[in-house]
């Protein structure tokens, strides 16, 4: 499959997962284009997450377990397995009058996803990994309901 077709497949895949429609789109996920992984090898893929200015999302892990940490869940697909995502360091902040910090992300950050391609995977094949990104966002005044975004990532099996 060509890269253009792979990109189209990624966009088509976006419709498959449940989508929470809301007026304020706080988070955008930008999967990397042109991901290639060799059979039998592991690779680390960085998904860029952009948070709308003025907002923040709860980091992963959270310090207060009642809060909802941003969580990337990607399903394995034929010939590609997925490891636990790696989340960046968080920024600490404190609400007025609170005695405990919050750990949050804002701006643009990356979640790293370990991938492993099976040794017998066919070189040139493109696999679409599907999953979700769940997050809960706030600004300085309001907290928004938790949102689950669909995420799709195209991985091309490279030559051995």
């Amino acid at each position: 499959m060509s890269r253009r077709l792979a990109a189209l497949a990624v966009f088509a895949g976006l419709g498959a997962a449940p989508v929470v429609v809301r007026a304020v789109e706080v988070v955008t996920v930008i999967p990397p284009a042109g991901v290639e992984a060799k059979p039998g090898a592991g690779t680390l893929v960085a998904l860029r997450v952009v948070v709308k200015p003025g907002y923040h999302v709860q980091a992963n892990p959270v310090e207060n377990p009642s809060l909802i940490p941003i969580t990337l869940k990607m399903d394995a697909a034929a010939s590609v397995s997925v490891g636990d995502p790696l989340y960046p360091a968080a920024r600490r902040m404190r609400l007025p009058g609170d005695n405990q910090d919050l750990v949050v992300y804002d701006g643009t950050f990356a979640i790293a996803l370990p991938l492993t391609v099976e040794p017998n995977a066919r070189a040139g094949a493109t696999v679409i990994l599907k999953g979700t990104l769940r997050y809960q966002a706030c600004d300085d005044r309001h907290c928004l309901l938790p949102v689950t975004l669909p995420v799709a990532l195209a991985v091309t099996v490279g030559a051995r």
């Binding site: 007026a23 009642s66 809060l67 809960q136 005044r141 309901l145 938790p146």
Partner: protein
């Protein structure tokens, strides 16, 4: 120019002079919408049963950082003002009762926690869409605090209109209660 246009101009001037936080007055003076909700304790609470009492209601969720920060202070307020006859409630917005139950135990909350499973009651208490129009009405109400007087009229609604509005210690809510309640 006749006097009527002057009055109109004056009204416009007054409206334009309002700060961006004029929403502080949303719903104040309106009758509190009626409700009937089941609480975690299994009892059904009706707004009509609260007539004749001062009532403080907070709309919360277990995952909201503002709510988690305010919850211990809300419990203190419940303890202190309960002695002065104030009835205190939390309305939980659209969450499963087992999740709410665990949070209430963790926060050591003793006031009734009413379960608004669909968010419909919360939405009825929300300000009109011109207040933060991008948000769903139940979102606007998350971590809000309301005082309802014995006649069933809303006397205070804290909606976090600006960055400085929120304080987990509920200073504004306490000050308003102190101003409204009869001397102990």
């Amino acid at each position: 120019m006749s006097r009527v246009p002057h009055v109109v101009l004056l009204l416009f001037a007054v409206l334009l002079a309002q700060p961006a936080t004029a929403g502080w007055n949303y719903r104040i003076g309106e009758p509190a919408p009626e409700f009937q909700l089941e609480a975690l304790d299994g009892n059904v609470y009706r707004s009509t049963d609260l007539k004749g009492k001062w009532v403080v209601v907070s709309f919360m969720t277990t995952w909201c950082p503002f709510c988690n920060a305010a919850a211990p202070h809300f419990e203190k307020l419940n303890q202190e003002y309960g002695k002065r006859g104030v009835r205190t409630f939390i309305v939980d917005i659209s969450e499963r009762s087992d999740i709410v139950s665990g949070w209430v135990k963790k926060q050591k909350l003793s006031c009734p926690v009413l379960l608004d499973g669909t968010g419909e009651v919360t939405t009825r208490y929300a300000p009109p869409p011109d207040f933060v129009p991008d948000l769903k009405r139940e979102e606007v109400m998350i971590a809000s605090f309301m005082i309802i007087d014995p006649e069933g009229t809303i006397r205070f609604l804290a909606l976090n209109e600006d960055v400085a509005s929120f304080d987990a210690r509920l200073i504004k809510l306490r000050a308003r209660l102190d101003a409204l309640l009869p001397e102990p």
